[in-house]
């Protein structure tokens, strides 16, 4: 009971947060000038007034905002995200079709950043004043400081143009005929540059964080005790210090996951990666409200869920936290 109650409480809070986000998103999206019908008409190169009126009715845009909002929430409760104006397909289908690409990209970048960042940070912490330490600092900080689209373009020009190793855009060779293995390899080839680009920002964060917290932990009393017991440096660092030093990294990773999705929008645009980011970007330009709201809703869920997971990981890593 003691563990379940806070969990239920957190979930209840999360649900309230979700509702608030839906309403806020809805109002924000409708504040932007022009609706989907004007976007469509612009797109079609003009239209007759009859057609415009007909389209407004068809998409329910002729009703007032509170009615639209109420209908939208009522539909959401039933799990219906509506139909995309521009694609004329169910929003949920479109999202599910684009989601795997984003998850693949974000997860690869996420783990790449944590792994590389932490490893570099720990190595640096063991030799705080060595040349290697400074080198890591310089490289990771430039990755952090450089705008992500710039990093993307530089990698693109280097490894796709001057040294044509990796493909320049997309997630797969369209119409590629081959075995499952060949297809997987094809996707992996496309994945390298976008994932490295997206990871580059966060490697710095994690390596600095891991380094600082490792240095902190290595200076504490229980490490001195461990060392005086005669344990080898390896055991001291990886068995005694690492778990504690990882706490800030986990917190940060949870917080940054949301930003990672935001960063993915830019990376997806640079590399034409067919994920949620591109879908969101285009839905804004075309005022495709159901699609945009659906994506925002989904991102909210993803962030809320990651925060919940972070919370509970925390409890496992540090039993003192209740």
């Amino acid at each position: 009971m003691k563990t379940i109650l806070p969990l239920l409480k957190r979930i209840a809070y999360s649900l309230m947060l979700l509702l608030a986000v839906i309403v806020l998103n809805f109002v924000l999206v409708h504040l932007a000038p022009g609706d989907a019908v004007t976007a469509m008409v612009g797109d079609m190169g003009g239209a007759t007034p009859e057609l415009i009126a007909e389209l407004r009715v068809e998409y329910g845009l002729d009703q007032n905002l509170p009615t639209q909002l109420f209908k939208y929430i009522a539909k959401m409760v039933r799990g219906d995200l509506g139909i995309s104006f521009t694609h004329n397909l169910p929003v949920i289908d479109l999202i599910l079709e684009h989601l795997p690409a984003t998850i693949l990209l974000v997860m690869t970048a996420f783990f790449m950043a944590i792994l590389i960042g932490t490893v570099l940070g720990i190595i640096a912490a063991q030799r705080p004043n060595s040349l290697f330490n400074h080198l890591i600092t310089v490289i990771s900080l430039s990755g952090y400081a450089a705008p992500v689209f710039w990093t993307g373009l530089m990698l693109l020009i280097s490894f796709s143009y001057y040294f044509p190793i990796f493909p320049s855009f997309g997630m797969e060779t369209v119409g590629f005929r081959g075995t499952f293995l060949e297809k997987t390899f094809d996707v992996l080839k496309h994945l390298v540059l976008p994932a490295v680009t997206l990871a580059s920002i966060y490697v710095a964060v994690y390596s600095r964080l891991a380094r600082a917290s490792m240095l902190d932990v290595l200076g504490s009393d229980y490490i001195r005790t461990a060392r005086s017991k005669g344990l080898s440096e390896k055991v001291v660092v990886y068995k005694h210090a690492l778990k504690n030093a990882l706490l800030p990294v986990v917190t940060m990773a949870g917080l940054q996951f949301a930003q990672l999705i935001a960063g993915a929008v830019v990376v997806e645009t640079v590399f034409s990666w067919p994920g949620i980011g591109q879908l969101a970007f285009n839905s804004i330009l075309r005022r495709d409200q159901p699609l945009l709201l659906g994506i925002l809703f989904l991102s909210t869920i993803m962030v809320v869920v990651t925060n919940l997971i972070t919370d509970f990981t925390y409890r496992i890593l540090d039993p003192r936290i209740k």
């Binding site: 022009g34 976007a39 004329n88 493909p167 997309g170 369209v174 034409s272 591109q278």
Partner: protein, 532 residues
């Protein structure tokens, strides 16, 4: 006369064919390979009867055929219709269809489908009323004859009957029995009788069209597949085309063109795609203080050095435009006031109008916004940015209002809130379709690409109404010449430049056909029968 011309064409084609077939080593076009195009805006479907736009036109023109095709000299050529007759009064068009043509699902193409397609396009296409408003009915005396009866002469009819404006849709797929056409699933998994059929559609990502073996032109097309792949950023598109991941790229930006020309495996064709007829202009909101004075508008025109804009800002990539009709059109006339750069005259006009310079040297302030669209956005932005310092010279203070995005700009114009804005319009083949809408006093609407300037001139209305039904081409030219003269004098819109589009094609592509709408992919093939 027409028959003799066509006969001689056949003879020439015959002779050429024989010559090639006896020349050793010439094997004719090679079949095979994929052709991959970059897709900037992803088409929501392929049904060109209910939507306009170039991102849709390219795949739709592969999937569907039309009655006729318009060649680069603006003459109709046979396509689904093998021949046609026009009655002396110009009110009856009789089309004889090719026999034995089928749709992608194997069902025959008949005159019933032609009648259905025309009705559907008239009712659902954004230009429907302009294209087919004059059509009274379509008669189908037999399976292979379609007779279009007009209420009044309509010289733009032939252009309206070509792709991408009127696709031949199978009635058994798109007809009313299948529910409302906007919701028809076959808008995406389209069924036509064009050279390629839809094999795969991944919303927002890619589409794959496959060769249709029973295409009405034997032998064509030569590519196995025609593939569209969504591409997000122009820089990666440039790398992709140089690597052969896509097979052509269209650019409008001087820096991009310079890079395109440097690529060894590409060649560049620069065309203004006459059918599309893209012209740019500065729109004046005639309801606004100062601007409603003709002398102010003329002063602004005199104060802009368009040669400088074209040569320096656009690096010679654009052309001078002198009026609403694109210079490639037979109805274009340059016998208009062209507003040669003249600051003195501009100042003089403003003085005459009574707008004296204040203590700070300024006469008055005006807002200026510009149209943010992909590919040619830089042109609009450059002109707008150029206008600010330039108009300061004649004492007009410009407040530049950069639009956040396209919809933001759209709603400013649709609400008539702008003082001035740059804009762009497509002529779509005939002035009746693309040009009239900007000037008719009956078309002052709260929508972009109508008469948002608020221009009302009875003389212009009369000229345009007459030109819409005038069958004698010389008389029609004269009407449009007069119209262009008045517009250049009244200046509700000041036409500045025409866009030129630069196509970088892969070097191994052969026989690039050209229609007024752009490249014709049906005749193209790979030198070695496959993509490099």
């Amino acid at each position: 006369m027409k028959k003799i011309f066509r006969l001689s064409q056949f003879v020439i084609v015959g002779i050429v064919t024989i010559m090639f077939s006896i020349t050793p080593g010439f094997a004719g076009p090679k079949r095979g390979g994929d052709y991959i195009i970059p897709v900037v805006q992803f088409p929501p479907h392929f049904n060109a009867a209910i939507k306009s736009g170039s991102e849709l036109a390219t795949p739709a023109s592969r999937i569907f055929v039309a009655l006729v095709q318009i060649n680069e000299n603006w003459e109709p050529e046979p396509y689904l219709a093998k021949s046609w007759e026009i009655s002396p009064d110009g009110l009856t068009y009789t089309f004889h269809l090719l026999e034995g043509t089928t749709f992608h699902d194997g069902k025959p193409v008949t005159s019933k489908d032609v009648a259905f397609s025309l009705e559907t396009t008239k009712k659902n296409h954004p230009f429907g009323p302009y294209m087919f408003g004059a059509v009274d009915r379509v008669e189908t005396p037999d399976k292979y004859t379609a007779v279009i009866k007009l209420k009044q002469p309509h010289p733009a009819l032939m252009i309206a009957l070509s792709m991408p404006l009127m696709p031949i849709l199978p009635e058994h797929v798109y007809g009313e029995a299948q529910g409302p056409i906007r919701k028809n699933p076959a808008n995406i998994m389209a069924i036509g009788s064009g050279a390629f059929k839809v094999a795969e559609y991944n919303a927002g990502k890619s589409y794959i069209l496959e060769r249709f073996d029973n295409f009405l032109r034997p032998g064509q097309p030569y590519f196995d597949r025609f593939i569209g792949k969504k591409i997000g950023s122009p820089s990666s598109a440039l790398i992709a085309v140089s690597r052969g991941e896509i097979h052509h790229l269209v650019v409008g930006d001087p820096r991009m063109l310079a890079k395109l020309k440097k690529e060894k495996n590409l060649f560049v064709i620069s065309r203004s795609t006459s059918g599309v007829g893209s012209v740019n202009y500065i729109e004046f909101n005639l309801r606004k203080e100062y601007i409603k004075d003709k002398r102010v508008r003329q002063a602004i025109a005199y104060a802009l050095d368009l040669d400088f804009v074209i040569q320096k800002l656009h690096q010679g990539m654009t052309h001078r435009s002198t009026g609403p009709i694109h210079s490639s059109s037979p109805f274009y006339s340059d016998q208009v006031n062209q507003y040669e750069y003249n600051l003195e005259k501009a100042n003089q006009l403003l003085d005459e109008a009574g707008y004296k310079r204040g203590a700070d040297g300024m006469r008055f302030s005006l807002d200026l916004t510009y149209m943010p669209v992909p590919v040619i956005e830089h042109e609009h932005k450059m002109i707008a940015e150029y206008m600010k310092p330039q108009l300061k010279k004649i004492g007009i203070n410009i407040i530049l209002k950069a639009p956040a995005d396209f919809m933001n700009w759209y709603s400013t114009l649709a609400k008539w809130e702008h003082d001035m804005s740059t804009s762009n319009i497509f002529m779509w083949g005939d002035p009746v379709i693309g040009v009239h809408r900007l000037f008719m006093s009956t078309n002052i609407k709260h929508r972009v690409w109508t008469n948002t300037a608020g221009y009302a001139n009875k003389e212009v209305d009369k000229l345009l109404n007459a030109a819409a039904v005038e069958r004698d081409i010389e008389k029609r030219k004269a009407l449009y010449a007069e119209f262009q003269k008045i517009i250049a004098e009244d200046l509700p819109l000041y036409f500045t430049i025409e866009d030129v589009f630069h196509y970088g094609f892969n070097k191994e592509l052969m026989n690039i056909g050209w229609e007024i709408w752009g490249p014709g992919y049906e005749s193209m093939y790979w030198k070695n029968g496959q993509a490099p």
